[in-house]
């Protein structure tokens, strides 16, 4: 749905009352009260119309703010059921807050039903705080009212997202993102940096008996999961498919057969809905994940430039991100196994199940990380000359296997906890040391982590310690946004749109080795 915001007039009374009665069944205002509100010089009422259905009012909201008074009140706000979850309520609230500010108010108050946590969450995310409770305020239901307050800075200037003229309120497009590069079928929906849905269907269990991701098994699972996952994401975001403004999809890098399922689905979706399609880079998507907040509140701009360390079962990459949509440089990457892959292989050596990361983490908790000194790949001076920011985990994996076999051959028990802890220490030591070195070398006071291996507690801990010592700000998105997901792909698509990039057209394919410098595929 494309929404149009405008000032309400008395001609809107009937449409507003229809929504009022449907929304507030037991305590709706009378038409006479509402007419008085619309006519008053001290109020500011807005309505939202659905562009596709002219004259169809789908939401309204009102502010009481007498000129010169320091206190303003949100009088009412309602969105028709079909249009809920699309951000209309948030946009209306922003406009009313901006109007209150313009009229000179320094505080905005509202009352909300104690049994409406969704509305309370919205108000809190806008900065309102609960200051009082009015017992049994809402009659005849006898429900308490929470009184909430928002302070407005005296010199506040309206933010660009809440401009002065409500009928020109710009809305970020609603973007649906599809990710199928490995074993997770991910579909996410965002509006700008606001996360509305992040649904993941994983085929990990099917790979467990093979000890690693089997590309054909993953691709078959994507085909079965793609439509149900889209459906689930729409339900989670509480939006309709026709409300989607653009589609984004991972073009690469990743498993070719797996990527192709997502590409085919995304193209069909874009043509069926007649919407623009953005083909994007999976790795840059991991960086874009930091734009989002897992609780669905408005995210933040990325602090750029930044160094990004992406660690997963398929990738180990160190990036220099100067601009998310136009300037990403690959500083280094693994020359053999990905870090997550090394965890899986060492877990097998130790007789632990797949996936190895959490298993090693669990076993290592009881072990001594200094018990065995396993090699640190590509950290010797001769290696650093050529591979300063590259990684190698094949050597440590083999070293662990040799060490374990020697014990077994001697008939001695294998100290699984110590081996796990020592191996894990070797991997995270190299990862964090090189990432911090990249920050220092490039004068970059920021490090961003991404990828599924971020779930590793020791990696996060050591990264925190080393960043703190070096005066580097560490950013770690929520774990649900670190593992492969469609929301990060949607977020990157939304940034491309915001930056004015043209859509990708329909001729791109799946590129299993897409370089990270190709942020968008034409």
């Amino acid at each position: 749905m494309s929404a149009r915001f405008r000032r309400a007039t008395s001609a809107d009374l009937a449409a507003i009352m229809a929504i009022e009665r449907a929304t507030f069944a037991t305590d709706a205002w009378s038409a006479a009260t509402m007419a008085g509100e619309l006519d008053s010089p001290h109020t500011h009422y807005l309505v939202v119309e659905d562009d596709a259905r002219p004259d169809a009012v789908v939401a309204y909201a009102g502010l009481l703010a007498p000129q010169g008074a320091s206190e303003a009140d949100i009088q009412t706000i309602a969105v028709v059921e079909e249009a809920r979850g699309t951000g209309l309520g948030r946009a209306l609230m922003r406009d009313l807050i901006a109007e209150a500010d313009r009229r000179g108010a320094t505080e905005v108050f509202l009352e909300v039903r104690a049994d409406n946590p969704a509305a309370q969450g919205l108000y809190r995310s806008l900065g309102f705080e609960q200051i009082a409770t009015r017992p049994r305020y809402y009659q005849p239901d006898g429900v308490d009212a929470l009184v909430m307050r928002l302070g407005l800075p005296a010199d506040a200037v309206p933010s660009p997202e809440a401009p002065g003229t409500p009928d020109a309120a710009p809305r970020d497009p609603l973007v649906l993102g599809i990710e199928t590069s490995c074993d997770e079928t991910g579909v996410g929906i965002v509006r700008g940096t606001a996360l509305l849905a992040n649904v993941i269907s994983s085929s990990m269990d099917e790979h467990a008996r093979y000890g690693g991701v089997v590309p054909e098994v993953a691709a078959r699972a994507h085909l079965e999961a793609i439509e149900p996952t889209i459906r689930a994401a729409l339900a989670e975001a509480d939006v309709r498919l026709e409300d989607i403004d653009a589609v984004a999809v991972t073009s690469g890098p990743g498993l070719a057969g797996a990527l192709m399922v997502g590409v085919g689905a995304a193209k069909a979706l874009a043509v069926a809905l007649d919407r623009p399609l953005y083909a994007v880079n999976h790795l840059v998507g991991h960086v874009g994940a930091d734009l989002l907040r897992a609780d669905g509140t408005e995210g933040a701009e990325l602090e750029l430039p930044t160094i990004a360390l992406l660690v997963s079962g398929g990738h180990t990459s160190l990036l220099l991100v100067r601009d998310l949509v136009s300037d990403v440089e690959l500083l280094g990457e693994t020359i053999d196994d990905a870090a997550g892959e090394a965890f899986d292989k060492v877990a097998r050596v130790l007789g632990l199940p797949y996936p190895g990361g959490p298993e090693i983490d669990r076993a290592a908790a009881q072990g001594d990380p200094r018990a065995i000194r396993f090699p640190r790949g590509l950290t010797q001076p001769k290696d650093l000359a050529r591979h300063r920011y590259d990684f190698s985990f094949s050597g440590v994996k083999t070293a662990v296997a040799r060490w374990v076999e020697a014990r077994q051959d001697a008939g001695e028990p294998v100290p699984v906890a110590d081996v796990a802890a020592s191996f894990r220490e070797s991997v995270v030591d190299v990862l964090t040391a090189k990432a911090v070195a990249a920050c220092i070398d490039h004068g970059m006071p920021r490090l961003l982590l991404g990828g599924g291996v971020v779930a590793n507690a020791r990696l996060r801990q050591l990264a925190e310690d080393r960043c703190r010592s070096a005066g580097i700000t560490l950013r770690v998105p929520a774990l649900s946004l670190c593992t492969d997901n469609g929301a990060m792909i949607a977020a990157l698509g939304a940034q491309l749109i915001r930056a004015g990039h043209a859509p990708s057209g329909l001729d791109f394919g799946a590129d299993s080795t897409l370089p990270v410098t190709d942020i968008q595929v034409a």
Partner: protein, 214 residues
């Protein structure tokens, strides 16, 4: 009005409507570019037919058999297109479209004579997919009598005597669509909405780690 998509060989897309006589097909025979071409083929077919996505009342998917990687692209696209427009998905065995084309060419489509056909397509790895159909009866729908199956060339069943063998390299989405129209009109049951891989993934369960020391 149907949109038909088949990627069991090359990529073929069609808009078919028996009532109005609309039949637009766009195909690319390249068997390695399904993901690249699928979107533009659908868009171009709709444009040439003068049809908007909302005018379609069903989407037909060629379910194979066919090489996996390409096959999935068309099925994924058909499923998601049908979902996006809120219309049913009609799964059809791809080789049945080849049989239909054969009988149409031999004048047997309206319940004429014509003996059984053995449809053979490439399964890669020196193997073949095969299916045997009987001539269409009054419904105009070729009847599947055996298969679809997977075999090395020497083991492909020849069919009953009088069976004509067709080695096909392409599947026509227009034929697939016409077939679905006839099946719908005849009230025939559509096969399950399942990709016809006919092979399990080429992998064996892990037997534990390999030794690295001799």
């Amino acid at each position: 009005m149907l949109l038909a998509i088949d990627t069991s060989a090359g990529t073929s897309v069609a808009v078919v409507d028996v009532a109005t006589g609309i039949a637009v097909e766009r195909s690319v025979d390249d068997t390695m570019r399904h993901a690249e071409v699928i979107g533009a083929l659908v868009r171009d077919c709709l444009q040439e037919a003068g049809v908007r996505p909302g005018d379609l009342d069903a989407v037909v998917a060629g379910m194979g058999p066919g090489p996996f990687t390409g096959l999935r692209v068309g099925i994924a696209a058909a499923r998601v297109f049908a979902f996006a427009r809120g219309v049913p998905l009609l799964p059809v065995i791809s080789s049945a479209a080849i049989a239909l084309d054969h009988y149409a060419g031999s004048g047997a489509s309206a319940g004429g004579t014509g003996g059984p056909v053995l449809v053979v397509t490439d399964a890669r790895r020196r193997e073949l997919y095969w299916s045997i159909f009987d001539a269409p009866g009054a419904t105009g729908v070729p009847a599947l009598v055996d298969g679809p199956g997977l075999a090395v060339p020497a083991d492909v069943p020849p069919g009953a005597s009088g069976t004509t063998r067709i080695d096909a390299a392409r599947v026509s989405a227009a034929a697939l669509g016409r077939l679905a129209e006839r099946m719908r009109a005849a009230g025939a049951a559509f096969p399950a909405d399942q990709a016809l891989y006919l092979r399990t993934p080429d992998v064996t369960p892990a037997k534990g780690p390999k030794r690295v020391t001799a």
